[in-house]
Amino acid sequence: MLAELERLYQQALSELDAVTDAQALQAWRVRHLGRKAPLMQAFGRMREVPAEERPRVGRRINELRDALQQAYEAKAEALRQAELARALQEERLDVTLPGRPRPYGRLHPTTRTIREIVRIFQSMGFQVFTSREVETDEYNFQLLNIPPHHPARDMQDTFYVATPGVQADETPPVVLRTHTSPGQIHAMRRYAAQDPDNPPPIRVVLPGMVFRYEQITTRSEIQFTQVEGLAVGRHITFSDLKGTLTEWARRMFGPQVRTRFRPSYFPFTEPSVEMDVECFLCGGQGCPVCKYTGWLEVLGAGMVHPVVLRNGGYDPERYSGFAFGMGPERITMLRHGIQDIRHFWRNDARFLEQF
């Protein structure tokens, strides 16, 4: 009997070798490990075996049965692995196909640059202050030490707003603000109102839209933004101005960037200064953007003129301050190599999407 079982066992193994799918494996299992399989019924035939042989034969039957069971499990696992491998192969993607586009919102480039500028000043204790865009001549010019007929008015071509009852040859009293500087007066008066005899110190940045009567060209626009800054206190000096703006330039353009200060003129500051930063595109070596000078003009500044301090409610004998102003579009253009300022308000998707 044992010999027959051994033969059946060998036969089962070789049949198992030929099995290639789950169905055949199932049939094989029924045939060789099922209830009616010869090996399973072998114990029932133990009578045929001499008694002294029985323990040995019984052990052997168990061994053969376990071996077939193991062979079965191994085969089942091999088939499962083969199936998985096939499925994985079939599910293979062309990973070079494009991904699914996700809608994505962006801030306007001007907003981004303004935020960047403002954030740096905020970290130095400046607060954001905004004010109106249609202004009186008084706030836009006179309180800033630009009386009527002052030559500095030639520096800023102005849009005038029609005001009923004003004669054609009079200077109209309402303008589109030509700079964010009227905000200086608004801010000073607002702070001074807290304690008129002892006004508190001020550190504000004033971002906003300004307007100039100009032809629209690649280099000039009828509207553009400015970020103005104002610091007023009892111990604010020209050297603070230099330090603050140099620190801003390093955070904005890189820790290595050098700055340069040149005398300039603004009616509402004295001394007045223009700050250049070393061209961050060529490292100061000279390139078309910096017109081969190695420097980029980025802002105008100065110590607040005593008349302006007084107009804001701050006694120039006791207080001093500095102010500065810069153009976010210009800075954006320099950084990204934009040649045409008209892109900003044209809002072409192909421009905006690149930020």
């Binding site: 494009p98 699914r100 586009p101 809608p103 919102g105 962006r106 801030l107 907003t111 130095m124 204790g125 607060q127 905004t130 865009e133 249609v134 007929h149 030559p151 500095a152 849009f159 005038y160 029609a162 109209p172 589109l176 807290q194 508190p200 110190p201 001020i202 550190r203 504000v204 307007f211 629209i216 009828i222 509207q223 610091a231 206190g233 009892r234 111990h235 000096t237 020209f238 050297s239 603070d240 230099k242 330090g243 200060f261 040149r262 003129y265 004295e270 001394p271 070596q285 000279g286 081969y292 000078t293 110590m303 008349v307 120039p316 001093s320 809002n347 072409d348 998707a349 905006l352 999407e353």
Partner: protein, 845 residues
């Protein structure tokens, strides 16, 4: 202002290269924008220069002073001559067509010879026919005569655009000397800021250079030989308005012969941007450029004639109504009443400080010249110059302020130059009327005051030295202060705190801005006064960006027609209904916008050519005129626009549907949620001039109307170049939204017990708004109703006509226990009852 370096060097010895001089001036606040080289060597490397560079350096070995010894006819051409030219080494034959040599043709050897600028073979010159380009002189034949060199015109050398005739140098020009050594120059183009009026004369620029380099300033001698009969009794001056005319002086020179000025003077005038006229006018211009004080020359005999043979009386006064004057440019001009005139007893002679009259100007026949030096009120000059659109060198200087003390040196200097250039005899004395002598301001400053402003501790002696270099008079006082008197050529130094700031600038400038330390702000931090608007606006923008919208920024300026295009009626409102510009730059940008919507539509229209899906927003002010007060309201608005497919096209799956009303409504609802608005938005059917009447909602933010959302009206849409997809827009009050943002918000506890989820569908009349059904569900279920999500709206054959079914997925939940089936049944019953009562809805089987 254009400053020839050679001229500047008349007054100060400058030990710097042209490039370093330019840098120095810029560092002093006299920004050199460009340098035009006229003979001096151009820098080999133009990088790292802060100014534009143009012109030509003359090669010393190739371009020299030479003499024309004889002019001979050209054998083959009438329009050419042959010049015998000696260049200091040898004689050359030069072919030229210069008309100003023709007069000498065939006259035999010239004594003395003509001095000319001679370019040898191989010399590099400016190409007269290609601006900015150079050419090299090559050997060639002109009409059969060999030619390899030339006598130059000003154009080839970069002096001016004069190309017709050759340069004829002054007779004392040394033959054989490199031309660059004789008159090589460079012209600095300096941008003069309004506070630098004192630098509108070359002496003023020289004074700044001398101060910066601590070198002496050499003023020209203004002594004048006066040998003629006295002027007294031969001319009188009367000032009627000293405010407008603080000083007026005249001198007289007789027996002059008008003719060209010396070449060197003409060259300088041209380099400075002025046209040489004749020796008399050139003298006035030369002195104006030198001192910054404009002068005017009258033909004295014409004045006498106008006074019927009597000695003329010059009267300065305001214009009378209807007065006119023909100015020396030939234009006859109506004079505004505020104009100040120089007149005589016969009427106007010139527009004071702006332009002289044609009748009394000097001419070839002039023998006697009455020379005016005066000072005028800057504001008057500015107004007149603007009104007449007449900007002259004189008006430019007077507008910025000319110190009256300059009158006398300028007058004397010019009389002396006329005497030297035009011959003649200067009458003894001058007539000088000076009713308002200028007072030089005085400041007493302490070094402490300066360090308070500059953050720089300078000893009094250093401050005094710096100021003295600029000609301030400085006297130390016993209390440590300095008494600083402004020099009599400056009007820009005030007194008191203003004077202190003015002097601080002078000290800082001369000391060097770059030498002042850079420090961190150490002053006390300001109080927070609740400036949170910008922060709130930023939060709104961020939320919109996170919702996938692109921010745009458009023009504030528009036109009523542009705004009308976005409405069904298309009727523009009158300009007066807008904030309107007096001086628009373009007709279609003449008013300030009252809505963001038209701009947003224009942006979307332009982009529709390139992109199908657009999701845009703009936040910014609109401008609404007010009945009271000068200034308009500037409320902030928020506009949104969606159009095109819900998703970008993708290679798998069907194309996405186009966005509709509910996409934009969803944006608003999500916005309200992420911004934690205390109350949900309310939408109710509404109407709007731009929108589809059936697809428009008024939006309420709490009790306040917030704005509109809807689909663009088909008639409006047809006016724009849009594709078939619907255009969804909203325009909302951004101030209300900003103010509705809560300072803080509380969180709901995260539920600990599972919810019961249940789907209920209600059949209601078609007219019942979904919002009312949901409200009834919430009211019926009370606090147990955690969420109500409408997941289906059904209309169809299985329902009676005029009915619709709304299917909701509801979640019931209690904070303290798991709800049982019995609880859920009780809640459901209440909801069904409430829906039936409130909107007549029945539970769908």
């Amino acid at each position: 202002m254009k400053v020839p370096v050679s001229w500047l060097k008349d007054y100060v010895d400058i030990p710097l290269t042209v490039e370093d001089l330019a840098r120095l001036l810029t560092s002093l606040g006299l920004e050199v924008e460009a340098v035009h080289y006229v003979g001096l060597p151009r820098p080999a490397d133009a990088t790292r220069l802060d100014f534009k560079v143009s012109g030509l350096g003359w090669e010393p070995d190739k371009i020299v002073v030479a003499e024309v010894r004889e002019v001979l006819p050209h054998p083959n051409a009438d329009r050419l001559v042959l010049a015998r030219v000696f260049d200091g080494e040898q004689e050359h034959q030069v072919v030229t067509g210069a008309p100003n040599l023709f007069a000498y043709k065939g006259q035999g050897p010239l004594t003395p010879p003509l001095k000319v600028a001679y370019a040898r073979e191989g010399a590099t010159l400016l190409d007269p026919y290609n601006p900015g380009q150079t050419l090299r002189l090559k050997r060639r034949k002109i009409r059969g005569i060999p030619s390899y060199s030339m006598v130059c015109s000003e154009k080839e050398l970069g002096i001016s655009d004069e190309h017709e005739g050759i340069i004829v140098l002054d007779p004392d020009a040394p033959t054989g000397t490199p031309l660059a050594d004789y008159m090589g120059d460079a012209v600095l183009d300096i941008a003069i800021t309004p506070n630098m009026a004192r630098a509108l004369g070359i002496i003023g620029v020289a004074r700044e250079v001398a101060a910066a380099l601590n070198l002496p300033l050499r003023l020209p001698d203004t002594a004048v030989v006066m040998e003629g009969p006295p002027i007294a009794g031969r001319a009188a001056v009367r000032i009627t308005d000293p405010e407008a005319n603080p000083r007026f002086a005249v001198g007289l020179i007789e027996d002059v012969t008008l003719g060209p000025s010396p070449y060197e003077i003409q060259r300088r005038l041209k380099l400075a941007g002025m046209r040489p006229i004749n020796n008399i006018v050139d003298a006035t211009n030369y002195v104006m450029l030198e001192w910054g004080e404009p002068l005017h020359a009258f033909d004295y005999d014409i004045l006498v004639q106008r006074a019927d043979g009597q000695p003329p009386t010059i009267i300065t006064r305001r214009a009378q109504p209807g007065e006119r004057l023909t100015t020396l440019d030939g234009e006859t001009r109506d004079l505004p009443p505020y104009a100040v005139l120089v007149t005589d007893t016969a009427g106007p002679l010139s527009i004071a400080g702006v332009m002289g009259g044609a009748e009394s100007e000097v001419r070839a026949t002039t023998r006697r010249v009455l020379l005016e030096a005066a000072v005028w009120d800057p504001i008057t000059i500015r107004r007149v110059s603007k009104a007449l659109k007449l900007t002259t060198e004189a008006a430019y200087r007077y507008q910025r302020g000319v110190h009256p003390a300059l009158v006398m040196p300028a007058l004397q200097r010019a009389l002396d130059l006329m005497r030297r250039w035009a011959g003649g005899v200067v009458a003894q004395g001058v007539v000088d009327v000076y009713p308002r002598p200028a007072r030089d301001t005085v400041n007493r400053i302490h070094p402490r005051d300066l360090s308070r402003l500059l953050g720089l501790d300078l000893p009094a002696a250093t401050i005094a030295d710096l100021l003295r270099r600029l000609d301030f008079r400085v006297r130390p006082l016993d209390d440590g202060r300095l008494e600083v008197t402004t020099p009599p050529h400056r009007l820009d130094i005030g007194e008191g705190v203003v004077g202190l700031a003015d002097l601080a600038e002078e000290v800082a400038r001369l000391y060097g801005y770059d030498r002042i330390p850079a420090t961190r702000l150490a002053d006390e931090l300001p109080p927070y006064i609740g400036l949170d608007r910008p922060q709130r606006e930023a939060a709104i923008k961020d939320a919109l960006v996170n919702l996938g919208l692109q921010e745009v920024v458009t023009y504030r300026l528009t036109a009523p027609e542009r705004e009308a295009r976005a409405t069904v009626s298309g009727q523009p409102r009158p300009d007066d209904a807008y904030v309107r510009l007096v001086n628009p730059i373009a007709h279609d940008r003449r008013v300030l916008r009252q809505s963001l919507l038209p701009n947003l539509l224009e942006v979307a229209e332009r982009n529709a050519r390139f992109v199908r899906r657009q999701a845009l927003f703009e936040m910014g002010p609109v401008f609404l005129p007010r009945a009271e007060g000068l200034l308009p309201d500037e409320p902030q608005r928020l506009a949104l626009l969606l159009t095109g497919p819900r998703e970008e096209p993708f290679w798998a799956g069907a194309a996405a549907d186009d966005m509709d009303f509910f996409d934009l409504k969803g944006v608003l609802e999500t916005l309200a949620r992420v911004l934690h608005l205390p109350e949900p938005l309310r939408f109710e059917p509404g109407e709007h001039p731009s929108l589809h009447p059936g697809k428009t909602a008024r939006v309420w933010l709490g009790a306040a109307e917030w704005g509109f959302v809807g689909e663009l009206h088909p008639e409006v849409k047809a006016r724009y170049d849009f594709g078939p997809a619907a255009v969804l827009v909203a325009e909302l009050d951004a101030c209300a939204l900003r103010d509705a943002l809560p300072d803080r918000y509380a969180l709901q506890p995260v539920p600990q017990f599972p919810p019961v989820i249940e789907d209920l569908a209600f059949v209601v009349d078609e007219a019942v708004p979904a919002a009312e059904v949901e409200a009834a569900i919430r009211a019926g279920g009370g606090a147990y109703v955690r969420s109500v999500v409408l997941f289906d709206v059904y209309r169809g054959p299985s329902l009676p006509a005029g009915k619709k079914s709304l299917a909701y997925r509801l979640a019931y939940q209690a904070p303290d226990r798991t709800l049982s089936d019995k609880d859920a049944a009780r809640i459901r019953k209440k909801i069904v009852k409430r829906v039936a009562r409130a909107v007549g809805g029945t539970l769908r089987g």
